[in-house]
Assembly symmetry: C2
Homo-oligomer: 274 residues x 2
DNA sequence: CGGACCGATACTCTGCCGGTATGGAAAGCC
DNA sequence: GGCTTTCCATACCGGCAGAGTATCGGTCCG
């Protein structure tokens, strides 16, 4: 199967409309229709049921959509990694403010060890996609918020949780809180969708802004407290989950540079050994 | 990147010779040369260093070879799974004799539950490849011999190890053995390469034959003892590893049929509940 | 130095891919 | 019920990418 055909199919399967899919692909509708027909003929399976009114996926189509997406990202990843293999620079994906104050130290140590590292900031929860897409070599994740499905990981540090709220909040003066104290509050759990703004939260700054606006209070790892602006208050949560900051990378990665980086970066939080 | 281009590159990278690669691909050499050049131009990276005498991989080429292989199998898997999604039959990969006597019971129970299962026998260690290639839905593996990297697994049973030897062997009358007793013997560990026949062992029958010939004694899970022919003897190993028979399937699999199958098959070895 | 090997280049051709125009079925509307 | 809208399929056509043949040019070897 040609990857082009598969990309066409994925577009149609996602849009469930040949016209829109063709537009998205930057082509006319008739050749797209033909390409899909040809694909179905080659596979010997009907992928879509078309009425003149609507397009639906057959079971085989559902399967091809799911598997096809991963195959296409694998393809893009191969391309991207090959392109980036030319220079030894490692790309480290992290969310803004998501470095738990470690980034500076990590970069300093890497500079000393002559490991070229380029931090790449991305939206919350996007790190894994960057790894899979080959756009990043290694990422900083926060367990259990991020789910590092089949990634290899190395723990950097373990954090308590804090509650972020406006400094004018009724609980802002407390020295610590428990979950029970948050009863009746609108609580944002850091990876939730955010109904108030109608879209996913993509950025720590966004969280801070929304907390300041009184939309909700946010539960997040303590290490974020370093970035708390003066109009917000951070109070430790006594019975919160612990949050773990880990390095994560594709388990099948065998790069020597990456191995060196992980060793050096993990050393940043290790007990000092002179 | 087109999958065709990538397949071309993988062929060249594996052969390290444009002529042979072209032959393998069923095409002439010049268009292949051009395709690779074009790929290099598009990626902006040199993938191969060509002297007029030999072709070598650059670091970027190494990366693209590794990543490209997995991308191509992902593509083939998508195609194969979509094709097979048309009928609900589940393909169960196992090595001949590798079912620990469970296959009959599993198939019987599945028939009763109206789950269509088709066993597919393959060479030793090939189960994982079949799963990745989309040619099988679920496999029987023997831990720790098979390494189910990123597969989901369900334990069926735990086995001791036995030593398989000719019935005329000096140790054949023993009721049990320890590792130390095997000192001085040529021992085959079930997944080793087999220098005596110059290739990998692909079949349990092959192992039996070679043991009968006195090439070596073989250490393998006890459940294989059911198939021991009369000219061979099987003696339990007291300090052997335990071998675990597991069901394995791609972790990302979300098929309802597969879930039912795993439940039913796992029930075969569960303590009877009336 | 001549031949073998092997990849690159030059040139030609064909088939596929994509474009435009149009058909035709189903649903909505007055 | 006919008109319009929507949306996928078919008919037809043109251009270019990809494949083939012939040949060149560099390198190793005897």
């Amino acid at each position: 199967m040609e990857s082009r055909e598969l990309a066409y199919f994925v577009a149609v399967a996602e849009e469930l409309n040949f016209g829109r899919a063709a537009e998205r692909l930057g082509m006319a509708q008739p050749p797209l229709s033909r390409a899909i027909q040809q694909l179905e003929r080659r596979l010997g399976v009907r992928l879509l049921t078309r009425t003149s009114r609507r397009v639906e996926l057959t079971p085989a189509g559902e399967v091809l959509l799911a598997e096809g997406r991963t195959a296409l990202t694998a393809l893009a990843a191969a391309e991207e990694r090959a392109r980036r293999a030319a220079d030894p620079k490692l790309v480290l994906a992290l969310k803004p403010g998501g470095d738990a104050g470690l980034l500076e130290k990590i970069l300093a140590r890497c500079a000393a060890e002559e490991i070229a590292v380029e931090p790449r900031f991305c939206a919350i929860g996007e790190q894994e996609g960057l790894l899979r897409g080959g756009e990043a070599d290694v990422a900083l994740l926060h367990l259990p918020y991020d789910e590092p499905a089949d990634l290899a990981t190395e723990v950097l540090l373990v954090d308590r949780e804090i509650v972020l709220m406006p400094s004018t909040h009724r609980l802002a003066d407390r020295t610590e809180l428990s979950r029970a104290d948050l009863d009746g509050e609108e609580v944002f759990e850091w990876t939730d969708e955010c109904p108030a703004v109608g879209g996913p939260i993509r950025d720590t700054g966004q969280v801070g802004t929304l907390v300041a606006l009184g939309q909700f209070v946010a539960v997040m790892p303590e290490s974020f407290a370093e970035y708390v602006p003066p109009n917000l208050a951070a109070v430790p949560l006594t019975d919160g989950n612990t949050s773990t900051v880990v390095l994560a990378w594709p388990a099948e990665s065998r790069s020597r540079e990456l191995a060196r980086f992980v060793r050096v970066a993990a050393g940043v939080t290790a007990p000092a050994a002179t």
